[in-house]
């Protein structure tokens, strides 16, 4: 029961964050690339002022899977690194915490390029 509730919360919050993206896409002249940049910067900002953490606690993957979650992750990482290592942490925290995601994407990108062919239409 608890699991179903957690999934439902993730579905609703995640769905809402995506819906806002679609709204920006259809109702403003913004293109996807710009929307994504806004999302990631918003994630850092909302994390910095302490709003994103409670959302994440409530929705779990519903807040961490959308790109705002990536922004929050960067924010969390840099904060932790500064606390532990001081000045150098400013430049270390962001990349070290998103290392898995970026490395996985690079790895998959290369592998897919090796295995697959671009399809004609």
């Amino acid at each position: 029961m608890e699991l179903i509730f957690a999934l439902l919360k993730a579905f609703l919050v995640g769905g809402f964050i995506c819906f806002v993206g679609q709204f920006l896409l259809d109702k403003t002249p913004l293109i996807p690339a710009k929307i994504l940049v806004i999302y990631v910067v918003m994630g850092v900002f909302l994390g910095a002022i302490g709003i994103y953490k409670p959302i994440l606690k409530f929705a779990g993957a519903g807040a961490s899977v959308p790109l705002t979650g990536f922004g929050y992750l960067l924010c969390k990482g840099v904060k932790k690194a500064v606390e532990q290592e001081g000045f150098i942490g400013i430049f270390k925290g962001g990349f070290s915490i998103c290392a898995v995601g970026v490395s996985a994407a690079i790895f998959c990108g290369l592998l897919v390029a090796l295995i697959f062919q671009s399809r004609g239409r």
């Binding site: 896409l25 399809r119 004609g120 239409r121």
Partner: protein, 339 residues
């Protein structure tokens, strides 16, 4: 004979002695499937990239057109060609082996009409006798140059058009030989009404089509009723509707005579297509596969072919520029003997 700036009547007979159309897979499922000469299958048509596939299409179109007119490459005086790719590589590599004196043109999607118009003017001077005009476009090659990678998950807008994978070639000869003649032409001006949306090319091109049609009709003192068909290049649904509105303001109603290549090439129920087909190959395919055939068979007699082209690049678009457009017009007449 020059009528007015950019508008010509040809005084010598310039006949269409051969034509051929080549198309890809999606086009083979469309309404023109019975008219196309060669269908190419597979991802790269047996080549190693989409660009090379486009070159192959153009080469096949030229060879097929020459076969139909019983000519060989060394009998052709000049070839006028272009495509949508940077530096027109589709053309440059496609025609490399044919060794025909070459004039490279860039008119974006208007290249079919532009190349016929330029070739006709050359023939009119008497300096050349036999020419070929050819152009092509390839959906995948255009998509990766102008938009996003093919497997990128983006949503296509409802105003967007689908670049045709096709090529068309027209062989023109001086003399009284066949049944279709190029009678007049009108060079387009670069017209820009400030449309910036790269997903709405029809809207960017409609003003150019309107300008060319109005100028031609005024100068030749003819009306739409003097023609059987006014065929625009690739305005699509949105662009055609805008063209009607623009012409209405000038008191010209072409609705009854008008067809658009972008709306003829694909099955209208295909959801990918949205506003219609586009690309240099779109008007080339419809014109070479269908319209010239109808002229030859006498179903059509007098046709105005107005191919439209959008002249932007990805870079100009990113720099915030609007989309300039051009529309070139040729007037073709089907008759037993030139007069």
């Amino acid at each position: 004979m020059k009528l007015k700036r950019g508008i010509f009547h040809f005084k010598t007979p310039i006949c269409v002695s051969g034509f051929a159309a080549v198309a890809g897979q999606k086009e083979s499922k469309g309404p023109l499937k019975d008219d196309v000469d060669v269908f190419l299958k597979g991802r790269f048509f047996g080549e190693k990239s989409f660009e090379k596939a486009e070159s192959k299409m153009q080469q096949i179109a030229v060879i097929k057109a020459m076969q139909k007119a019983n000519l060989t490459a060394d009998e052709i005086d000049a070839i006028f060609a272009g495509d949508l790719l940077n530096q027109c590589i589709g053309t440059n590599y496609g025609l490399r082996e044919l060794e025909i004196p070459f004039v490279g043109l860039y008119g974006a999607c208007s290249t079919m009409a532009e190349s016929i118009l330029v070739a006709s003017t050359f023939i009119e001077t008497g300096l050349v006798k036999k020419t070929i005009s050819v152009t092509s476009s390839h959906f995948c090659a255009a998509e990766r140059q102008f938009r996003f990678p093919l497997e990128y998950g983006g949503q296509r807008k409802r105003t967007a058009q689908w670049t045709a994978t096709a090529a068309g070639a027209v062989l023109l000869e001086s003399g009284n030989k066949k049944k279709i003649y190029v009678k007049s032409g009108c060079l387009g001006k670069i017209i820009d009404f400030g449309v910036k949306d790269i997903s709405n090319m029809g809207a960017a091109m409609a003003p150019a089509a309107s300008d060319t049609i109005i100028r031609f009709l005024e100068e030749t003192k003819t009306t739409c009723n003097d023609y059987d068909l006014i065929l625009t290049g690739d305005l699509g649904r949105v662009g055609s509707d805008l063209l009607y509105e623009l012409l209405d303001q000038k008191g010209v109603n072409i609705r009854a005579k008008h067809k658009d290549c972008g709306l003829l090439i694909y099955d209208r129920n295909d959801k990918d297509i949205n506003s219609g087909g586009s690309g240099a190959g779109c008007s080339a395919l419809v014109f070479c596969a269908n319209i010239l055939k109808q002229l030859e068979e006498g179903i059509l007699k007098k046709v105005l072919f107005v191919a439209t082209g959008a002249l932007m690049s990805k870079r100009s678009n990113q720099q915030g520029e609007s989309i300039p457009a051009v529309a070139h017009l040729i007037y073709l007449k089907g008759e037993e003997k030139w007069n």
